[in-house]
Symmetry: C2
Subunit: 334 residues, 2 copies
Amino acid sequence: MSIREVAKRAKVSTATVSRAIHHDSRVNSQTAERVWRAVRELNYYPNVHARSLASGRSHIAGLIVSDITNPFFPELVQGFAEAALESGYDTLVASTNYDAARTSLAIRRMLERKADGVAIMTSEMDESLIAELKNRNVPMVFLDVAAPGRLISNLRVDYADGVGTAVRHLISLGHRRIAFLSGPDNLKSARVRREAFLECLSNAGLAIEDPRMVTDGGHRIDGGFDAMQRLLALDERPTAVLASNDLTAIGALRAIRNAGLRVPEDISVVGFDDIQLAAFTDPPLTTVRLPRTEIAERAFECLARNMDLGQEDGAEPVIATKLIVRASTAPYRG
Amino acid sequence: MSIREVAKRAKVSTATVSRAIHHDSRVNSQTAERVWRAVRELNYYPNVHARSLASGRSHIAGLIVSDITNPFFPELVQGFAEAALESGYDTLVASTNYDAARTSLAIRRMLERKADGVAIMTSEMDESLIAELKNRNVPMVFLDVAAPGRLISNLRVDYADGVGTAVRHLISLGHRRIAFLSGPDNLKSARVRREAFLECLSNAGLAIEDPRMVTDGGHRIDGGFDAMQRLLALDERPTAVLASNDLTAIGALRAIRNAGLRVPEDISVVGFDDIQLAAFTDPPLTTVRLPRTEIAERAFECLARNMDLGQEDGAEPVIATKLIVRASTAPYRG
DNA sequence: GCTCGCGCTGTAAACGTTTTCGAGAATAAG
DNA sequence: CTTATTCTCGAAAACGTTTACAGCGCGAGC
């Protein structure tokens, strides 16, 4: 089952077998056919380790995520692995668990397995760690962190647009008093979303006068619950809220129901992310979808540019969001 | 950065370096120390491809699942990968998407990457496909399919016990009219759960007289919704229901609320699986947990027995379930 | 007729480890 | 003191590919 046996059966040298398998145009089509027949008859497939050793290419793409258990990631993994597979790459996924030591370990594994490229889809990533990847000239792609560079790509998510369509959706439903449940300030994406919200509202002539209308939900269910309770205690409570995150929105849903009010009749709620759970809340949550599959595919494409197409520069595609209207929003009822 | 440079710096042969790295007891402790120092100074790490080629062991563990997007699997993947990592294995995960062609492709990938063992955690698996793995003597472990054999292990889930504790929980709360929302009959695990339910009830002297008290929920939310509506339409409706699956239970929750009744005051509901969503339903769902992390760890252990310990036979650990009591069950109120 | 180029194929040297075999030195046994 | 044994190590042969390099046959150009 080695290349030598194929060579013997096809009555050629191993070099020719190798070339035929790689569809090298230099081999005569008849010989190639002979080789392929032998391959089929012997049910031969190449030893990837020997191949990697000789060629220097592992045909492994690395994918580093924070936590595969976080509902954001499985789709990402799936999409990436799928795209990789189509280009003949296997995917090596590593989970950092939001932990520095494990992150370092993840990088090390990528290095050891000699990944041809690695997608780093987690925010907690130290500059010093990626340095080694950079030194070894392995292409990388990040999610929304920095500018692209040599062999380094970046996926830019258009959060502002996502927030914008959500806000316009609420405005078009007649809402005027719109509150925002913000996320942790140390998260760049959370900050961007809040700023976008404020700007969008003031662009529409609805600039927020009461600062309590923007309150922290911490990107968690309980945080959203508490934050919504604060909003409900206001003299003039909002008729609609936009959450920085679906979990926050779910917490808000509970708080509203808990207060004896109804969604969407009394208050409209919009989330952000479109995690799977969002479709199963009661009522199903209107939310801004972050297209995970697309992110995954773009990420691999960026790597492929460098790995297969021989490009040296990085790309920076922008990822558009999409408003998914479900049942948690309804027209304002004066 | 090759073993040769380390050898040169430590003034030994590559053989000795290799041995030292593998903590071979035959190398003198002083020379070993010299080697390790050189390794550190050069920041050397071995080339896995060369290693695999020479040793014939890839240190890759395969994991085949149906659909990583299905909330059952991420934890499984995580647990498995974690356990594998601790033993120095990287995990290659493949998703079959419930599709025969992709399943075959997954197996092929395992073969090509020369996985040292593979865990097959999906039911749709053809005998003919695993034949090739068997031929190549790669250890396998399955989830609840057949008996173990040479290099083949099986994880047996104790569904009967899980159903039993759930039923006893309801009985101890005073419930006597308990219904069952069953799953698809072509799923072995679904059949087992239903049989266990019936037997458990008759053991308690509460044998079901009305066959309509066991009705198909199809393991889906909408199926559970419809099934529960049928139960609610009965003259004597149940005071508690056990679902074969959490999704079914969630559908039931909706149907009950939809009918103007309350959980758990009017009807108690118990699910099965303990998917993440179960903790976030309203009310949070009492359910029987299928310990995914434990399944994953056991699965890897089974492989490790064969891969590292040199055992030839397969194991068959049994996986115990656990009742998670949340807020969807309450004492019967006459 | 000679050279050149082209199309095709084979030889053999990598790639970086592991591992067998054997040798030399030191130690123990007799 | 000789012989066996144990320790420690190195030389070199795998492992199964890829890929420079060279070679061969053959038709074309001169």
